[in-house]
Amino acid sequence: MTGECRSFRRELERVLARAHSLVELSWSEHLLGCAACRALLEEEEALETLLGSLPEPALPADLAERVLARLRRGLAEGDPLDSVLEAVGSPEVPRDLASDLLGSLRLDRALELLPDPEVPPALAERTLLGLRRHRRSRRPQLVLAAAAAVLVLGWIGTRLVTRGEGPRRPLQQVAALPVAPEDAELLEYLDVLEDWELLVSEDLDVMLSSLDPVDEMLLDWTETSEGPEEG
């Protein structure tokens, strides 16, 4: 196939694309010396003739009116699903959606440019240490409260022992102790402090470690006994 053949075939396609008659091509000089292109043109002309031999589609009478009538009938009857879908309608797109999105994207990109904050070394350890100090700073108050309770109870116990009722074993002495209302109130405060986790077991351990044996025994009793009646 020569360059002239390619040129002729391009022209052939151009004419076919525009639905023009192929007759204009039959005068091409190229065809005089090219049997292949001549045969191709003849085939295309024959094909055009064959395609043109198909009759025009016969339109049914009153097609438009019948279609309209059927559409109206169908729309009047209505499809429940259609009415629901129509009611839903098209989602309304905000007017500035695109620019808002682009703005957000730009902001995101700008935020990504910010460097990550530098975490001070050993921050966690120092934070924990600070928290421990804070807790310790509350301990003296709690220790004082507990110590006051112990002293009050100890003073009551000492008074009872010195009333001349004879020597008694410590537990017996404690069991025989009546608990004054103010002491019971103090014990309740301690319970509340413990309930609120202001007085944690660790604090109690610290306090107890500083008590003398008699006071410690007295406290044990107050924790394990509801009162002298049950002792």
Binding site: L16, S53, A58, L63, A64, V67, L68, L71, D82
Partner: protein, 184 residues
């Protein structure tokens, strides 16, 4: 269509009156003379009603309509197994689309010969893949430029050119024996 979109219900009637014949013709060229084409025409305009709010005048209205018709008819053909139905139609006496070659022709055998040719051409077109067939029908019978056919078939102009070229090649191969005779 813009008037209908704006709420003018009367404009829809005008659309149907103006375009129903074109749609029916396109469906007949594409599907052959099988029953159900009128239902499809109705379906095409039902889609127009449903898509009224979404319609954008980005191309000619007829291009949009042809795209709906093409999609519907391609689905219709896929559902109904068209080839078997067509082969039956050819043997039936349904000649609603076949007009006499020449009513004044004295030789009846000439008319029969021409019917054979028409059937052969229809069969050859029917045997084309659907995209080639629609591209050929739109180019040859609707005389649409390739740029508009590309919109109907949602393809590129270059691809349409190739589709039409291959369609013609296939038709030349299928109708080889008829190409040598003179039916003009």
């Amino acid at each position: 269509m813009l008037a209908y979109q704006a709420g003018d219900e009367g404009a829809f009637d005008a659309i149907v009156r103006r375009y129903s014949g074109q749609v029916f013709g396109l469906l007949t060229r594409f599907l052959g003379d099988r029953p159900g084409r009128e239902d499809l025409v109705q379906e095409v305009f039902l889609r127009v009603i449903r898509a009224r709010k979404r319609y954008r005048p980005e191309a000619r209205f007829s291009t949009w309509l042809y795209r709906i018709a093409f999609n519907l008819s391609a689905n219709f053909q896929a559902r109904s197994g068209r080839r078997e139905a067509l082969s039956l139609n050819y043997e039936s006496d349904d000649t609603s689309m076949v007009e006499p070659a020449d009513e004044d022709a004295p030789d009846p055998s000439r008319g029969l010969e021409r019917d054979d040719v028409v059937h052969a051409v229809r069969a050859a077109i029917d045997a084309l893949p659907k995209n080639q067939r629609m591209a050929l029908v739109l180019a040859k019978y609707e005389e649409l430029p390739y740029s508009e056919i590309a919109l109907v078939l949602e393809s590129s102009e270059k691809a349409i050119k190739s589709l039409v070229h291959r369609a013609r090649e296939n038709l030349r191969a299928a109708l080889g024996s008829y190409l040598e005779e003179d039916f003009a």
